[in-house]
Symmetry: C2
Subunit: 220 residues, 2 copies
DNA sequence: CCTTCTTTCTACCAGATGGTCAGGGGACTT
DNA sequence: AAGTCCCCTGACCATCTGGTAGAAAGAAGG
């Protein structure tokens, strides 16, 4: 599985009927993806059985296997779609007009917005960013290019003196794990019987921004 | 499974031969626990098969089931031992002479020390703090009293005006998820080909302390 | 030598899981 | 009406799973 493989291409490997997006099956495929995201993100990949997944959809397991060739293929498709969602949100910012620190702040806000709107996505990230996860390489393939791009941009900013010189990759990983940690936090909150509020998320975001500012802002 | 059940008691329920700690089996039990902690903490509970676990130890699966009655019993024993490790580290501080903010700082340092020495333990926490995990109630039973104690202490400090008045439980959960997030971060670092250094961990610790200070310190 | 207890193993099982295969029905084309 | 393609399903299967039953091996003690 070469690193140069694009997202679309890998999707085509595991999704029967990619290329045509119309037809009756398209809706089914989406419904399967939704349910799979929910299941993978909560009870995990290993904990998800295709039979249960299908039953929840009023469908037979074979239908799932028809659209996504195997269970791993399904996971791959879920990861790809989720990564694509993130990519859209991030590219919007990256192609915006914000510069320097403003852009960093916009990126963080963008990611947190996605995390709030799709908490399941964070659960999936957590599940999948585990070493030995069947989708770890897949995630790397889907998110890697974006990470590389962000890192390259940061290093350019550093060269231009608009950012403090630090290890860009380290900062990125730190930010990434903070966001993923949100999933844990939200779930722990729920387990403790508290409904997560905007406040807890905002607190985390403020913390992350402070950390980034301390790491990157050239003045202090 | 009543909340008042002590850790020792629940261990006795699931471990054959508790009470005698000598004998040939004691070493085997420990080896099994070590391997199980590693496996649960990395590939997860569902992803762990007793056969593989046993094979890795040069042992038959039935030997595991002899010592720990069931797979869940094994998980319970792992969680209990890990929680006990954490408890020891924390009680040391709680019974120390540090007061007020110093005590908070000492607690954080203590937890991070454990996290560094036993990164697998963090992986287990992450795995187990997932909703629907078979060990979620077990974890709650093992860690809950400590959390309650910490919360009660914080509220006493608040009443005495030595701590700023905030939602103690929320602060605790935030701190907890930060520590657990360390596991994610360390693993992502490894996945990126970087060996986690003291520096990354120290950065996180500093962040957490700053957050706690901002939340709790009465002056500012 | 016999008994008892602990520890480990061989043999086996019922259930669940991911996956294969062949077929059926509907819609659209020719 | 016949062929074709897409979508879905029932029947089936190999494998793996956690778990049970029973026995062998060794140590300890009488």
């Amino acid at each position: 599985m070469p690193d140069t493989t694009t997202i679309r291409d890998t999707v085509r490997d595991t999704v029967r009927g990619a290329g045509r997006s119309s037809g009756k099956g398209a809706e089914t495929r989406e419904r399967i993806l939704d349910a799979a995201l929910e299941s993978f993100g909560t009870i995990g990949y290993d904990g998800t059985s295709l039979d249960d997944l299908a039953a929840g959809l009023g469908i037979r397991k074979q239908t799932i296997l028809y659209h996504y060739v195997s269970k791993r293929g399904l996971l791959g498709a879920v990861v790809d779609r989720s990564a694509a969602d993130l990519n859209v949100a991030l590219l919007e910012v990256l192609e915006g007009e914000a510069t320097d620190w403003e852009r960093v702040e916009a990126l963080v806000r963008s990611v947190f917005r996605v995390a709030l709107e799709q908490p399941l996505l964070m659960g999936l990230l957590r599940e999948v960013s585990r070493p030995g996860s069947p989708a770890a390489p897949r995630l790397k393939g889907a998110m890697g290019p974006l990470m590389d791009r962000a890192q390259a941009w940061m290093e350019r900013e550093m060269d231009a003196g608009r950012m403090r010189r630090t290890d860009a990759q380290l900062v990125l990983i730190s930010a990434y794990s903070t966001v993923v940690g949100l999933a844990t936090e939200i779930e722990v909150l729920r387990a403790a019987g508290l409904e997560p509020t905007m406040r807890t998320v905002a607190t985390r975001r403020r913390e992350l921004l402070r950390f980034l500012r301390a790491s990157l802002d050239p003045q202090r």
